[in-house]
Amino acid sequence: MYAVEMVNIVKRFPGVLANDHVTLRVKKGSIHAIVGENGAGKSTLMNQLYGLYHPDEGEIFIDGKKVVIKGPRDAIKEGIGMVHQHFMLVDTLTVAENVVLGSEPKKGLNFDLKRARKEVMELSEKYGLTVDVDAKVEDISVGMQQRVEIIKTLYRGANIIILDEPTAVLTPQEVEELFAIMRKLKSDGKTILFISHKLHEVMEISDRVTVMRLGKVTGELETSQTNPKEIARYMVGRDVVLTVTKEFHEPKDTVFEVKNLVVKDNRGLVAVNDVSFEVKRGEIVGIAGVAGNGQTELVEAITGLRKIESGHMYFEGKDVTGFTPRQLREQGMAHIPEDRLKHGLIKEFEAYYNVILGGHYKTLFTNGPFLNHNKIFEYTKQLMEEFDVRPRRIEHLGGNFSGGNQQKLVVGREINTNPKFLVVAQPTRGLDVGAIEFIHKQILKMRERDVGILLISMELEEIFSLSDRILVMYEGEIMGEVRPEETTVEEVGMMMTGHRLEEARRG
């Protein structure tokens, strides 16, 4: 018996075939993973199930009955619930109020808060979804917000729950809690659609896997009979190396150092609090932490994009506190930013204008006050060749490349500046395994060339496999420094939730 059947779904967007005759069958009471790189069409498919888009062709069956889902309202009526990557909660309302929002229990004409609280508490207890019903959403952790979203779907009577990349924002411990909840929901007969690109999670939690690539289903696998390597092959269309092997490399002298750095966030609150560390030539220093614990502000301060409140930065021993981004680049700093669409690329610029950003005023690309387009074109061709950017059209607009190729452009541009110190933030966010492999190789190559590297990532796996030393950040402070070979994921996970190294060691 299938809870969900989507048959021959075709969805076109101008210029793109997002879903090309996709067929998905999900057994009732199972956890079904949908994996694929960004742009493979997973979210498009799920949005059609939830009624946010309408298929151009194809049919949808829920519990064997053909349905036409015109909007989320219809989807909810069919017992479908969706937890989006970005939560749809009202920050200033309480948990209970958020859950019932849109279908509030009434007493006469008035909102019946008592009943809302009671119903939310019942659901929370039944599935082990621990939440504080009276807390305001703005005051609770991301993990709890996600649980509120799940309760919301259950409150509306969902039997089929779509979770869109639910683990992206969670700590390892929170991921385990989420998986426990998912198992409980499953044992209660709920069907779960789990979108992810983290293969080990898929292996751990799912019963079946549908792999998508370029809008098509490339594989339908029983989880117990497959392995990450096989899934990756279906995702990318070729064999991929999933684990990076790094050779021993002796770090040299210090290239970059920060001392007692204090930085404020956009709201004027201290986001980086008294942080000190150094990065040596030929060394990768990883900064682990849950998103929003000051990593973004730290990177922005180091790269000159954010004002430093107090503390100092040294580049090869020279005080560079308060330098502008251009001055820092001229010292030999390069920066692969965490948000390639915000900082890394100009979507409206052609590839050739994007790859000169930051060095556009140098004689390499200019001719007096004018740009030397011949040189720029030549340079771009070489860079795209070297970093395998596709399509290999120098006049292709930045915004029209796929995520992986955008990242390759950015990585290529920054590496080509021959930096002495490279700041790398979330280098593989949203990329498919093939691109991840490529980016990791490039970072390790830089390490061999004695470049000092600061790696900031939410992906613990990435931090563990690349870093020589790991610093863990929590609420703007460094909780401790560990070496990947001397620590465990649990220990780092403890530090990510606010325990100092000593406490984490004591357990």
């Binding site: 101008p14 790269t303 994009l305 502008t324 981004p325 251009r326 680049r329 920066h335 930013p337 915000k342 900082h343 890394g344 690329l345 100009i346 979507k347 409206e348 610029f349 204008y353 950003l357 930051g358 556009h360 005023y361 200019t366 006050p369 004018f370 740009l371 387009h373 607009l397």
Partner: protein, 344 residues
């Protein structure tokens, strides 16, 4: 479809649609559209005089169109071209009435330079306020427009006032007047059009060939990425406003030096605001702006002739309005174009 082809197709198709709609309107009011359009064309191109008139009307529109268009390319919405034009012309008029002893070779460029510098400085106020305090340039330039209008009105009614009748400033020196290219009856077509076209070419080179233009465009498209790439956002916002203002000031200069030869109230006459529509129709492209200004200029010149045969001259306002509407809401036209292509 190629974005450059689109940039040309959208305004052209918009004009065609606008003409089609106004044809219907003309039929509805019981007139013959062929007669109306031939009158329109006769009015704007039918005689030497008509052509001269069209060129005269087009000249300031090119420059204010460039002013606003340049701002758009840098991500600033300069609604203040009107005020910058007024201030540029007013101050330049004050100086140029005393330039009698200078030869034209000095007096002409000097007068233009004064108008441009004043326009640039006046616009830079808004740029500076945006860069330093985040005050939105739409609000500040509107307020600066008010200041400029009232200041000019005070000047021509007070300190600068000459004779009675319409408030106006003294005539500028002969040596500061632009040479006349064509004289038909009372109509003198000055070299202003050449200045406007040169300005468009310079803007094209600046935006597409120079490092400074690269930085200005980067800030306009994505200030975060620009800053990341070591480009100062505040410096470029002020610079972009100043260049935009200089072009508006130049528009004031050509009106002053080529048409009125003195400052008077109707010198700007909303041409600064017309610049917004023209920049839109011309898709912020310097060459496109020349064509857009020419379109609006010739519609306006030809409308009188249309009035003679009984079709209200406001018909051109309808055409103009529909064109602007369609270009601004370019997705309508794009959708039509894409549908057509898919259907093929």
């Amino acid at each position: 479809m190629n974005k450059k082809v689109m940039a040309i197709l959208v305004p052209v198709i918009s004009v065609l649609i606008a003409l089609a709609i106004s044809t219907i309107v003309i039929i509805l009011i019981g007139k013959n559209p062929i007669d109306a359009y031939s009158a329109l064309i006769r009015g704007s191109f039918g005689s030497k005089q008509a052509i001269a008139d069209t060129v005269i009307k087009t000249t300031p529109l090119i420059l204010t169109g460039l002013a606003v268009g340049f701002g758009f390319r840098a991500g600033v919405f300069n609604i203040g071209a009107e005020g910058q034009m007024v201030m540029g012309a007013l101050i330049a008029a004050t100086f140029a009435s005393n330039f009698g002893s200078l030869p034209p070779l000095i007096a002409i460029p000097l007068t233009m330079l004064i108008a441009m510098l004043v326009g640039a400085g006046y616009a830079a106020i808004a740029g500076f306020l945006k860069a330093k305090t985040g005050a939105h340039e739409v609000v500040t330039t509107i307020m600066l427009n008010s200041i400029a209008g009232n200041f000019a009105s005070y000047m021509v009614n007070g300190p600068l006032k000459v004779s009675s009748g319409t408030p106006k400033s003294p005539e500028i020196a002969d040596s500061a007047q632009l040479p006349v290219l064509m004289k038909v009856g009372a109509i003198e077509m000055s070299a202003g059009i050449i200045i406007a076209i040169i300005a468009a070419i310079i803007m094209y080179i600046l935006l597409n060939k120079s490092t400074a233009g690269y930085e200005i465009k980067a800030v306009g498209f994505n200030p975060y990425a620009a800053e990341y790439g070591g480009i100062s956002v505040s410096k470029n916002v002020v610079l972009a406003m100043a260049i935009s203002g200089a072009l508006a000031g130049l528009a004031g200069a050509t009106e002053l030096m080529g048409v009125h030869h003195r400052f008077l109230g109707e010198l700007s006459g909303g041409k600064g605001f017309d610049g917004i529509s023209i920049a839109l129709i011309g898709q912020n492209n310097p060459i496109g702006i020349i064509f857009a200004a020419f379109l609006i200029g010739s519609l306006r010149t030809g409308s009188n002739e249309m009035q003679f045969i009984g079709v209200p001259k406001h018909m051109v306002m309808i055409i103009q309005g529909i064109v602007i509407f369609l270009v601004a809401a370019d997705r309508i036209v794009r959708t039509i174009l894409i549908r057509k292509r898919v259907a093929k």
